[in-house]
């Protein structure tokens, strides 16, 4: 059995086990959940450490395949290459951190753990799957618990509306994706039809898809996946959804589940439909500016810390899209780094705001202030997370965003300059204003309890450590990513940076 199967099946199995444990054995439930997440994380670390970039550049490893419905072309097929390797590691670390943070009293926590593990296992399964059917199925498996969790354990007075909105938006997005995926499936002649991503890539490389088909399938996928990743202007569900969601749900969704759309674009849309991709990137690069500039500006105006963090997370997605829009090796590699980095970052930030919300009972910025002296640990980590959020080197976001910006320069210098402005200035302004208003200064308020025990600190420390490790040694990610991105970029044949370099080499 491939360790990949273990990584995502274990949380799902634990969810099943918990469902038959009586609900008053709370400690047992917690232990089962935590243990499964921990083993799953260890397996992910094992896969990450044993992935061998030198063997057959960019090929899938840890592959496991069993036929499941051969007449429909569906098989159970998992494997990793450079692109999903980091995502699976990130997802499992975030799942563990979320499970550890969930270790506190709440109503109906048996159900909560079941849904949390379903969410985590589902999304890890989606990242590991190399078959479109399971790819989609596992994503839905993770998505549905999200809605239920926001509806049942959500916070704030707009909880119901937030649930309603996020459900509608994401279901619509997923529906468009489904249409697109079935469209792809039907483009194959009957008899060789398959959902296997590897087979599909191979087939469409040899027989390019008809332009007329690409013309409608690509936008369906682009906007379907786009909605899932809160592409501007389909982003309004995200800030409200995250600020109403329970902490752990926000961590998993903003950190991990959201990356599914970007992953789908890179894994499915680009390599299968290169012509349409070329045509749509210009639209996409301007929509990214909507995320980076517009949502950044909106974040500046937020009066609620969670809404600010939510908008900032939407703004960060702009960089991920921009890397895709660059269609260059450097840019798309940067996108994958941004995805991993933002996963850790978003989980960390929502984990911390969740802690703060539980302690202070509010996240209205006007009611907070001077908290650093009262919550030294949480405050310090949060300030570091916020600095990471405005692109300070030393944290994983920085190399990712830098790669995206370098990679996009030859595609459009203007867009890049505006994105640099968004990254350095707008991001800096709202993050530093938040630090100033929430943590600095002095204010009379009832005492709050800091996370003082090692156990309470572990999840935050773990996520922060991951951010720093990948920020200082980005090669841990990029050396694998670039090998797997290279064939995709070559298939699209669009790398302006490399083309320009070749032309210069010729002329000399």
């Amino acid at each position: 059995m491939s360790p990949l199967t273990l990584i995502f099946l274990l949380p799902l199995a634990a969810a099943l086990v918990i469902s038959i444990i009586p609900r008053n054995y709370k400690f047992v439930i917690q232990c089962v959940a935590l243990l499964s997440a921990f083993i799953s994380m260890c397996a992910a670390v094992y896969v990450f450490g044993n992935y061998d970039p030198s063997s057959a550049a960019g090929a899938y490893q840890f592959v496991e395949q069993h036929p499941w419905a051969p007449n429909l072309g569906i098989s159970y097929h998992v494997g990793v290459d450079g692109i999903n390797l980091g995502l699976i590691l990130m997802g499992s670390v975030v799942l563990f951190a979320a499970t550890a943070i969930a270790w506190s009293n709440r109503t109906r926590d048996k159900q909560f753990y079941i849904l949390l593990l379903m969410m985590g296992g589902g999304i890890l399964g989606a990242f590991a799957s190399l078959d479109l059917f399971f790819f989609y199925f596992f994503h839905e498996l993770a998505l549905v618990p999200t809605f239920i969790m926001i509806g049942m354990w959500g916070k704030g007075d707009q909880k119901n509306y937030a649930t309603y909105q996020i459900t509608l938006y994401l279901s619509f997005g997923a529906l468009f994706v489904l249409i697109g995926l079935i469209g792809i499936y039907l483009q194959l002649p009957a008899g060789v039809r398959t959902f296997d991503i590897v087979e599909l890539t191979k087939y469409f490389k040899a027989n390019p898809m008809l332009p007329s088909a690409q013309r409608w399938i690509f936008p369906a996928l682009l906007f379907g996946f786009g909605v899932l990743v809160s592409l501007w202007p389909f982003h309004t569900w995200a800030p409200l959804g995250y600020s109403s969601a329970p902490t752990e749900t926000a961590m998993l969704h903003a950190g991990v589940l959201k990356k599914f759309g970007l992953y789908g674009l890179i894994r499915v849309a680009l390599p299968l439909m290169p012509d349409a991709a070329q045509r749509w990137v210009y639209v996409l690069s301007f929509l990214c500016l909507g995320n980076i500039l517009y949502c950044g500006l909106v974040a500046m105006r937020q009066r609620n810390l969670n809404m600010l963090v939510g908008n900032s997370s939407v703004a960060h997605m702009g960089f991920a899209f921009l890397g895709i829009a660059s269609l260059s090796l450097i840019g798309i590699t940067g996108t994958v780094v941004v995805m991993v980095a933002h996963g850790f970052l978003a989980a960390l930030t929502f984990g911390l705001t969740g802690y703060l919300r539980d302690e202070a009972q509010t996240l209205e910025i006007s009611q907070l202030g001077g908290l650093l002296s009262r919550l030294p640990f949480i405050g310090t980590v949060m300030i570091m997370a916020m600095l990471a959020g405005c692109g300070v080197p030393g944290f994983a976001g920085f190399p990712g965003e830098a790669l995206v910006l370098f990679g996009n320069w030859d595609r459009s210098a203007l867009v890049t300059v505006l994105a640099v402005w968004g990254a350095l200035i707008i991001g800096g302004v709202y993050m530093l204003r938040a630090i100033r208003n929430v943590w600095h200064g002095e204010k009379e308020a009832p005492p709050l309890a800091d996370a003082s025990t090692l156990w309470r600190r572990t999840p935050y420390g773990l996520l922060l450590a991951c951010l720093i490790i990948f920020g200082c040694f980005p090669r841990l990610l990029t050396d694998n990513i670039k090998l797997s991105v290279a064939p995709i970029v070559r298939a699209v044949g669009s790398d302006l940076t490399e083309n320009a370099a070749q032309m210069r080499a010729h002329s000399q």
Partner: protein, 607 residues
């Protein structure tokens, strides 16, 4: 040079910062020892590097950091004359200030955090110094910004300090915006970001930058404008004085703000004549503007801050004139005497129990003799009295301007020299001479040896710094001809400016109780005290542009949300309306059924 030494110089401070942050938060003494030890060892190792260096071939050490496609980013160190000189300045002055802080920060509840931040700063600053490529320099450029943010906002409970930290970081980020864009442009044009590589390309083909040469020059210069607080981004530096005084001495006088000048010297070869012209003028404007504002400041640290701005303007002007060695020379001597002046000011503030207004001081030369004499040496060096170090380095810049026939710049330089002498002696007379202007003076006391010791060492360095021929040491690296030597016109006018400044200050402030100038020059003083309205102007501009845009975006977002709400609102409404028809009552359904049939029949049969 053996390989581990350069790595140790760079990473010891980082190790110290990490150790203190993770394990030593509750051990102030050990924290201080670790931090001071790290910087001292770095300093000693730097001397070792200097001793072995023999101005031989530059040494390049590097490891790969990131490589994707055509983008190859290394983590490397490039040791040449320029780098080694700067290493000595940073670690040397840094060591003294670390030692001084042991006493200055005593009793602060966050003593360990202070030393952790200082160590982090040393690491970032050394990273800039040794960088061998643009990207690595940008990384450390941002990291010094962060450490400056942490240190300016060290007393984060004070609203002013928290605001100043934010302002410093964001203003710097505006400069960094240009810097990063410039770096990407350089990379896209010549395909490399390594300094050596770019230089090689430019030697091979002087037109390698093509049409974007000026753009590259100015964008890269943006970085220096932010970090070295040049006009028009100078507004953050005076506010940054809210940080503890050792921080002002180390970061906002001696080292970090000089990083911009250092960077300009490091990549001097990329600037074309057009961008150099702009650079020289920006430097001159900053020098003049800041000196004018300094005349009317009342806070001892703010006077020194504006003085720093003004001197940085000199250095930038020197680079623009085409004499980086003169700039580095002044950078080095300035690091000595300005660190000395700030530490002296810290000693005064300490002795006066946190009073910073010079009009509440007076007669302190009796209470604090050690501070007074060292401060005086610093002032004389800054004002440019022969044979103190400032004389030689300032003359190198003025002489270069004269020699290169940049007479307007030369005139500005001389005038600024007069202003420098004037505002510095105003400070000295008001603080150390005259009558005691408040009761606090009577309770003032001299600081401990741990604080005055560094003052003496820096005083010696400020006095003697001019005799080592630093300029000649750097000359070969920039392959310039032999320096013109002392330009007699410049010397005469410079010394004249010094004397007039001293005389006017003595006349006005020898026994002054309050500032006589605002009465005599009403308009000028009003404008100067309001900092030439720059801060106000920027606030208005930001409110009119960025904040207005943000408000607009929020409005649009609201409309968007409303639209979405409308969409599913209507869907829901339709649903509810249709529900009215589904009553569940058989009679109603039968009625609708019959009515429907009737309508259909009507259309089919009767028409």
């Amino acid at each position: 040079m053996s390989q581990p030494i350069p790595w140790l110089i760079l990473f010891l401070p980082l190790l110290s910062a990490a150790l203190i942050t993770l394990f030593l938060q509750r051990n102030p003494r050990i924290s201080a020892a670790v931090s001071v030890g790290a910087v001292l060892v770095s300093f000693i190792l730097s001397i070792g590097v200097f001793a072995q260096f023999h101005s031989g071939a530059p040494l390049d050490i590097h490891a790969q950091w990131l490589r994707v496609g055509r983008l190859n980013i290394e983590f490397g160190m490039h040791f040449d004359a320029l780098c080694v000189l700067m290493l000595l300045v940073v670690t040397g002055v840094g060591s003294l200030i670390h030692i001084y802080s042991i006493s200055y920060m005593k009793g602060d509840p966050a003593y360990s955090r202070f030393f952790a931040c200082l160590s982090l700063f040393m690491f970032s600053m050394l990273g800039i110094v040794v960088s061998n490529n643009f990207f690595q320099m940008f990384i450390f450029w941002e990291l010094v910004g962060v450490s400056s943010y942490l240190l300016v906002g060290f007393w984060y409970k004070k609203p002013k300090a928290a605001d100043a930290a934010k302002k410093a970081f964001l203003t710097n980020r505006i400069g960094d915006f240009g810097f990063l864009t410039g770096i990407i442009l350089v990379w896209s044009t010549v395909g490399t970001i390594a300094f050596v590589g770019i230089k090689e390309q430019l030697i091979k083909n002087p037109d390698a930058f093509d049409t974007v040469g000026t753009a590259i020059g100015l964008l890269i210069f943006c970085g220096a404008v932010g970090k070295s607080a040049q006009f028009p981004l100078h507004v953050w530096l005076p506010d940054a004085m809210e940080g503890p005084t050792p921080v002002s001495a180390l970061i906002h006088a001696a080292t970090m703000v000089a990083a911009g000048v250092y960077m300009l010297c490091r990549v001097f070869f990329i600037f074309n004549p057009m961008s150099l012209h702009v650079i020289s003028w920006i430097g001159a404007i900053t020098a003049l503007l800041a000196a004018l504002i300094a005349i009317q400041q009342d806070d001892i640290k703010r006077i020194l801050a504006y003085s720093t701005l003004s001197q940085l303007g000199y250095m930038v002007m020197a680079v623009g004139i085409g004499e980086p060695p003169a700039a580095m020379y002044h950078l080095t001597t300035h690091a000595f005497f300005k660190a000395l002046l700030f530490l002296g000011a810290g000693s005064v503030i300490h002795g006066m129990h946190d009073e910073q207004n010079i009009w509440k001081m007076g007669r302190l030369r009796e209470k604090m003799p050690a501070t007074f004499w060292t401060f005086l040496i610093g002032t004389l060096a800054l004002a440019g009295l022969w044979p103190l170090s400032g004389f030689f380095s300032k003359d190198a810049i003025l002489g270069a301007a004269y020699h290169n026939h940049r007479l307007t710049l030369f005139a500005i330089g001389i005038f600024v020299a007069f202003l420098t002498s004037f505002y510095m002696f105003r400070l000295v007379f008001v603080v150390f001479f005259g009558k005691a202007k408040s009761d606090a003076v009577h309770h003032a006391h001299e600081s401990s040896v741990v604080m005055t010791g560094p003052l003496f060492i820096l005083a010696i360095a400020s006095a003697a710094g001019g005799f080592f021929g630093l300029e000649k040491y750097l000359q070969p690296q920039f392959s310039l001809q032999e320096a013109p030597g002392l330009e007699m016109t410049a010397v005469a006018l410079g010394l004249g400016a010094f004397a007039i400044g001293l005389a006017v200050a003595a006349l006005l402030y020898r026994n002054a109780e309050t500032d006589p100038l605002p009465v005599k020059m009403v308009w000028f003083c009003k404008v100067a005290r309001r900092l030439f309205y720059f801060d106000r102007f920027y606030e208005e501009v930001i409110a009119l542009t960025q904040d207005a845009l943000a408000q607009f975006a929020e409005g649009v977002d609201f409309m968007l949300k409303l639209f979405v709400r409308f969409l599913h609102g209507t869907t829901e409404f339709t649903g509810r309306a249709l529900r009215l028809a589904q009553t569940g009552s058989l009679q109603t359904y039968t009625f609708f059924f019959a009515a429907g049939i009737a309508v259909v029949l009507y259309f089919m049969l009767l028409r």
